[in-house]
């Protein structure tokens, strides 16, 4: 089948997971055992095959993009929004990530969620998430993307609070939802502004018409900033990042799929998708860069002091997302997308590996109670090691190439920026190896009986491990004999990438790479000395000395938000409860009742039951009316 034919059946890609979600949800009380898991996995796998076929058939040189028109959605004068799907290099890349890594995580979940009572609900939600995420990346206009945008937020909320009997998990889910709503509001306002300016929300038309807007005009700055606010919410950047670490309350496959590989990259996707708009707003680009850098640095430091295996990975995710935003802020769109891709592989791998460890230890998440698992859970150890090497940026692994692209772009902008991003990389390297060493090396410090996970869990790990190693070749830079394939591929979808060129000489690149790798090796050596030779365990956050405690308590950002927003809001609510609710609302309602009673008491005296009195009243009344008509008033 050629590309055009495949584009016509592209609607199946989101439709299949939706179908799976609906069927499983409808039959959730009937399906026994692993049926729901197999069905859900099959749906995403078939969607992956279709996406892969479309990707293979896609020849950007002949046809850069295909717009699949499903039906007219909103059709009012001056505004037409169609249910369109846009198939181009960018959406195909994201589709492959979502369906590919998605099906592996579905498969892994079959075993991981095996003993859960609500396993059918879980798979229905996981499939629903896949549908929403695919709508997000495949949407042909901003509004279709917005459907997916809200959909993934909802699924994220439902899956974080999946074990809803634990109050803390419910708080985490609500926190994620509220934080996301703030971002969504920004996105929505941006949509309204775009719609009123251009009269359409279609990506192609908006990008074409964007050339009519002058660079740096207040309008474009406002729109891009609002779009970025949406991205901040979804991709957990400063100041809205605090929901993501708490989102680890959800089942581990959820953390891997939603909170590491796919949903959190929606913000980066959105910025790349609307790169033509961002190219016109230099101020916004600066903001993106600063926010990304601050987030990356801040969360990387927090990651060093976390003792929960999933929390370390969560802060690492936020930090890596920050690096991607740094790349976006520098205009290095392809570097950001490249890192999205490789990060999807190794972070999904690390999360699933962490899930496997947690599974092996019967639910233990504290790395201080692990250790020495290298000999027991061999497959998990090897794959986790590969994931760690990839994220740390060891040459040859995918993370090295993608992170290097960002570091180069940073150096080109300013050496200080390079130093900052390098610092983040080194911190990443340090806390990841701390995690690895404390979990798998040394002696076992826990009590639970450890065992290796079944193969349905380890196979996805192995596939992802292979991906984590080889994904680097997707965008191999010139100095390694590559052609930056992915960059040239994405150029056909995102205009901004054309302007993105590296002007560094080969010697500079080699030198920078040498510095990076040398420092990374040093950091690993230091971590090895600290956590393997003599195992240094961190105490509880409150017992640490001052500066360490500051970082371990996450720079007191949660506490700051509690003081800044929650407390005044709570105070306002109490006041409003006392004044508005108790006095105004309740008062109005009670007044209606009590005044009716009072009037009734007064008027009932007229009903004497005396016939003569009624007659008298009638006569007086009639005479009164007569006098009124005669003399008039």
């Amino acid at each position: 089948m050629d590309f055009q034919q495949l584009a016509h059946i592209a609607w199946l890609v989101p439709a299949l997971p939706l179908f799976g979600a609906l069927v499983i949800a409808a039959l959730r009380n009937k399906l026994k055992g692993n049926t729901a898991g197999y069905l859900a996995t099959a749906m995403t796998s078939i969607a992956f095959v279709i996406a892969l076929l479309a990707f293979i058939a896609h020849k950007p040189a002949e046809q850069a993009s295909a717009l699949v028109h499903l039906f007219n959605w909103i059709d009012i004068p001056g505004m037409e929004v169609a249910m369109d799907l846009r198939i181009d290099a960018l959406s195909l890349t994201m589709m492959l990530i979502v369906t590919g890594i998605g099906s592996l995580i579905h498969m892994y979940s079959i075993s991981y969620m095996h003993d859960d009572k609500r396993v059918n609900t879980f798979f229905a939600l996981l499939n629903l998430f896949s549908f929403a995420m695919l709508m997000l990346v495949m949407g042909g206009n901003f509004l279709v993307t917005f459907i997916g945008w809200e959909g993934v937020g909802l699924c994220s909320y439902l899956l974080i609070g999946f074990w809803y009997t634990v109050p803390a998990y419910n708080y985490a889910a609500r926190k994620a939802f509220v934080m996301n709503r703030i971002g969504d509001l920004g996105f929505l306002i941006a949509l309204v502004m775009i719609a009123t300016q251009f009269g359409t929300l279609d990506y192609g038309t908006v990008m074409d018409k964007s050339s009519t807007v002058s660079t740096g005009s207040p309008w474009i700055t406002a729109v891009t900033l609002l779009l970025f606010v949406g991205a901040i919410g979804k991709s957990a950047q400063l100041p809205l990042f605090t929901w993501l670490p708490d989102a680890m309350a959800g089942p581990t496959p959820v953390s891997a799929l939603i909170h590491a590989a796919t949903m959190v990259t929606a913000g980066i996707f959105l910025l790349v998708r609307s790169s033509a708009l961002f190219a016109l707003a230099p101020i916004t680009m600066e903001v993106v860069l600063i926010v990304g850098l601050l987030t990356a640095v801040l969360t990387a430091t927090i990651g060093v002091f976390q003792n929960d295996i999933k929390k370390v990975l969560a802060y690492s995710t936020v930090s890596q997302l920050g690096l991607m935003f740094v790349a976006l802020g520098l205009g290095a769109y392809s570097a950001a997308m490249f890192h999205v891709t490789t990060h999807a592989f190794f972070k999904a791998l690390l999360f699933l590996g962490a899930g496997s460890v947690i599974h092996a230890l019967g639910g233990e998440q504290d790395i201080r109670k692990m250790g020495g698992l290298k000999g027991i859970t061999k497959t998990t150890y090897v794959t986790f090691l590969i994931g760690t090497l990839a994220i740390a940026g060891i040459p040859g692994f995918s993370g090295f190439f993608s992170k290097d692209a960002i570091l180069m772009a940073a150096y080109q902008e300013h050496p200080l920026l390079y130093a900052a991003t390098l610092g983040v990389s080194l911190l990443t390297c340090f806390y990841m190896f701390r995690l690895l060493f404390l979990t798998f090396f040394g002696t076992y410090r826990g009590k639970a009986h450890a065992h290796e996970s079944p193969s349905v869990m380890t196979v996805p790990l192995m596939v992802l491990a292979v991906g984590s190693v080889v994904a680097g070749v997707l965008n191999l830079p010139h100095i390694f004999g590559g052609h930056e394939t992915m960059k040239h591929y994405l150029e056909t979808a995102a205009e901004g990438i054309y302007g993105e060129h590296l002007h560094l000489s080969a010697a500079t690149e080699w030198m920078l790479m040498g510095i990076t790798v040398g420092l990374i090796v040093l950091v690993i050596w230091y971590a090895h000395g600290r956590f393997v030779k003599k195992t240094t365990l961190d105490a509880e956050a409150d017992e640490l000395p001052y500066f360490k405690r500051l970082i371990a308590r996450k720079w007191y950002i949660d506490e700051l938000y509690a003081k800044l927003f929650e407390k005044p809001y709570g105070w306002l609510s109490t006041q409003l409860d006392a004044i508005m609710e108790k006095r105004v609302v309740d008062g109005a309602v009670n007044f209606t009742g009590s005044s009716t009673m009072r009037i009734g008491k007064l008027v009932r005296r007229v009903q004497t039951g005396n016939m003569s009195f009624y007659l008298l009243a009638m006569v007086v009344g009639i005479i009164g009316f007569l006098m009124l008509t005669i003399w008039g008033v």
Binding site: Q607, G609, N610, M611
Partner: protein, 109 residues
């Protein structure tokens, strides 16, 4: 027919008005102040008929038969009303063994 109209016209209109005013007032006073329900009903009839008298007199004096037609309708309705009224009196007698209208005060608020 013309004889009757002529006969009615021999009495001045003011006298009819005065007579029916007196009759109406008597009826109204009786309806308001008497306690015997049967008397009250009779007083109502008196008020009806004072109005009828007035209608007939005006009809004759102005040569308009409409007033007399109206009288027939009123008599018909009054007959029906008396039937219902007397039935109520009978029921009242049976239930409270009295025809005192002040007994009917159960609706007092």
């Amino acid at each position: 027919m013309n004889d009757i109209v002529t006969a009615i016209r021999t009495v001045p209109l003011e006298h009819y008005v005065m007579l029916s005013f007196v009759l109406f007032s008597i009826g109204m006073a009786g309806a308001m102040f008497r306690r015997n329900t049967i008397i009250v009903l009779m007083c109502l009839e008196l008020m009806f008929n004072s109005v009828n008298l007035l209608l007939t007199a005006f009809s004759a004096h102005y040569g308009d038969p409409g007033g007399q037609v109206f009288v027939f309708f009123i008599m018909l309705v009054a007959a029906a009303e008396v039937t219902v009224g007397l039935a109520i009196v009978v029921m009242m007698k049976r239930n409270v063994d009295s025809v005192d209208i002040n007994q009917l005060n159960r609706m007092r608020g």
